[in-house]
Subunit: 181 residues, 2 copies
């Protein structure tokens, strides 16, 4: 399959990026990390990680979907036009569009949440920005068509498993292997 | 307080490093990442992260404890003399010594598990190497005196919270803030 694109912007929540990337790669799903502003990116809690490519060099059509980790990076993702273009193009092709924590605000800004149910966090900072969704859930993860959302860092493993399920992978075995039982 | 030292060796399990670092920093505990072989370290699933210092430059007495993430790195940690020296010196000072997944094999090699209860994973690859422990639990985390162990990547958040509890921090509030409820 074509790889999943994971967006890395300064201030990304480290668990929210690491858990889905780790889980997808364990499931055999190729993942490419795209730096929004550069290749060396510092997270919200001072962990610096390396991207594989610059987002500006990415051909969206070569990817199966896009994942937006949250944290302080969420607002930067929302305010970066090329990010919104990637989300819109992926959505228009019916491919996976996923975000966790506060990052669904970037999906809202891209105009892809109309009539969908999503989860997000923290409620006071985020839900007022998400006006087009049909419902805002407090579930750890929500899959509504091609839109998969996760609630917060404590739900990051579940978010990774939800992405794996959406992609048709054997998540139950991996849960056991990772001691999530 | 003096910072906690987290050891980064090639092949570290990314969630097992990220979750405790993120949680400790959220709790206000300073954390320093020490590269065992270099400052740019690739994890078990291809995520490359940056260390803050080289382990060879660390003064162990300046730290409150040491944390060993697991993954393929566990065997390298076990076979690196300076790692065992750090573990022994920290243990002799009665400070926190922590490891998750397969990394308790390095604590065993350092000779600090005698009579303790620990948890670890995977059983077939690890428990046969841990002969001095009094008991090997299958609990997600075990705190036995200054030795804190975690079972596997699915228990990495719980491992982070166990470290915070050991250090006397308000873990209950953070659980809520991180949507771990």
């Amino acid at each position: 399959m074509e790889p999943i694109l994971v967006l890395m912007a300064p201030g990304f929540e480290e668990i929210e990026l690491t858990a889905p990337v780790d889980i997808l790669r364990r499931l055999g799903v190729p993942v490419v990390l795209a730096g929004v502003q550069g290749l060396q990116v510092e997270g919200a809690h001072g962990l610096t990680m390396m991207a594989d490519v610059l987002l500006s060099e990415v051909q969206v059509g070569a990817y199966s979907g896009v994942v937006l980790p949250g944290g302080a990076a969420s607002w930067l993702l929302r305010d970066t036009p090329v990010v919104l273009d990637v989300v819109r193009e992926m959505h228009a092709a019916g491919r996976l569009v996923a975000a966790i924590c506060a990052a669904p605000i970037a999906l809202e800004a891209a105009g892809v949440l109309s009539g969908r149910t999503v989860t997000c966090y923290p409620a006071e900072a985020v839900t007022s920005d998400i006006r087009s969704a049909a419902d805002i859930s407090t579930a750890p993860t929500v899959t509504d068509g091609n839109i998969v959302t996760g609630r917060g860092p404590g739900a990051a493993l579940e978010f990774g498993f939800a992405l794996g399920e959406y992609l048709g992978k054997d998540v139950a075995s991996l849960r056991q292997e990772m001691c999530c039982c």
